[in-house]
Symmetry: C2
């Protein structure tokens, strides 16, 4: 198994989870770059490597450069580093960004689809990793890196990955916002968010064995207009949530009547 | 610990989970009533008791009558049984229904907040049960039944329970619908729903330690307009989901800017 020398550009949540996983798999993380010294040094300490806050100090002899930065900063940073160190394998980790955002001839995508929290380590083995590369050789590099840390590696084009990322926005980001709406509604009656956890856990667990389409429950799929109208009435004081409730209820009814 | 003789009116998903839990806790389930013989006999077999599909055959010597039927059938059924067997403790299990829907002087609510699937047994100990009763004595009966099967028992008025149920619609039913939207979007690129499970699991697990408000991630909270506009564009072929995406994105941005 080939071991690679890797530089991390970015020290955010994704980098703080991915870099240690690659290190544990036997690869060398040789340097961390971040605009902010605090996060750069924090991650570099964990990886026992150097760090820098200046792109001009990024080493030019690594095999792979991982970019785990905000989508808006990615293109600019990659262009700047390319002009400094020349042709190297650049890899970005952004679900929603095209591979073409990278300026190098050798470029790849390595998207671990998970929601990362800095201080909560997740088990990378279970995280599906979606890869893409500009050449067969580059693909074999990211494929080998991905297989070193995850049991689920999929090759996916940039266009396909956009749909994947969109589905992640619905099932993770929007779902989390609905947890937050639940929390707000419970505040009204003085109950802690905790009382929702068994329901939240079971709702997630249920779709391991039953497709979410088949497993739909609640007033909408029962077309229980008494409950639906009463709940819409209760939401009058939250007009945005009233509209959301109405739209989602209609969507559930429509989809299940097709 | 007092043991009660219980009749179940209804043999649906909730009854099929609650009745066995009460039996395991040492209470006697003496009879099951359901309009449909199939579900009545199936549940009665599990409980080793008799069943009937005729209200006139419901025994009149039980201590507690549990109504686990559809919200729309509840009032009518309770009224009919009341006129047949007279004054008894009637208990309903519906999160969204007022206690007053029951016609008896002795009435109570026993709402186990969970999403139930018929053939998937859940651990009742972890399910929060919300109780309410018309008299102190009736309250002590449902309180003792609830504590026999669950570690989390809360006393809650009908009005409070409406907000609880509304929060459950958002965090369970609507969340599940978003899982279904994710499934549909993945079908477009030929990926199985399974690839979303680690993300779904982690999103649920995360809110055990971080409040959903604090733990929000994704393009909306980053106000990443590039991604947001691109994803809205992708949803043009699903106008309902495009509107949903826009509304939820706005709501996330607004709430976090308050």
């Amino acid at each position: 198994m080939k071991k690679y020398k890797i530089v991390f550009i970015g020290a955010g949540r994704l980098a703080s989870n991915l870099a240690p996983a690659l290190l544990n798999a036997g690869h060398s993380i040789v340097q961390v770059y971040s605009r902010t010294a605090g996060s750069a040094s924090l991650l570099a300490d964990k990886l026992h490597c150097g760090y820098t806050t200046s792109l001009t100090e990024v080493v030019d002899d690594a095999d792979v450069y991982f970019f785990s930065v905000s989508d808006s900063a990615l293109a600019e940073l990659a262009k700047s580093l390319h002009s400094l160190i020349g042709e190297k394998l650049f890899v970005h980790t952004a679900g929603s960004m095209n591979i073409d955002v990278l300026p190098t001839g050798h470029r790849a995508v390595f998207y671990p689809m998970q929601t990362f929290v800095k201080d909560k380590r997740v088990d990378f083995k279970r995280i599906p990793c979606f890869i893409e590369a500009s050449t067969d050789n580059d693909l074999s590099v990211v494929n080998s890196l991905a297989n070193d840390i995850s049991e689920k590696v999929y090759k996916l084009s940039s266009q396909q990955r956009q749909y994947l990322h969109l589905s992640a926005v619905f099932t993770c980001n929007f779902v989390n916002h609905f947890y937050a709406i639940g929390e707000k509604l419970l505040e009204k009656i003085g109950l802690p968010f905790d009382v929702l956890l068994p329901l939240i856990d079971e709702s997630a667990e249920k779709v391991h064995t039953i497709s979410p389409f088949e497993g739909q429950t609640g007033p909408a799929i029962r077309k229980d207009m008494n409950v639906i109208n009463k709940q819409l009435q209760m939401l009058k004081e939250y007009p945005e949530w009233e509209s959301l409730y109405q739209m989602i209820t209609n969507d559930i009814i429509n989809i299940h009547n097709k």
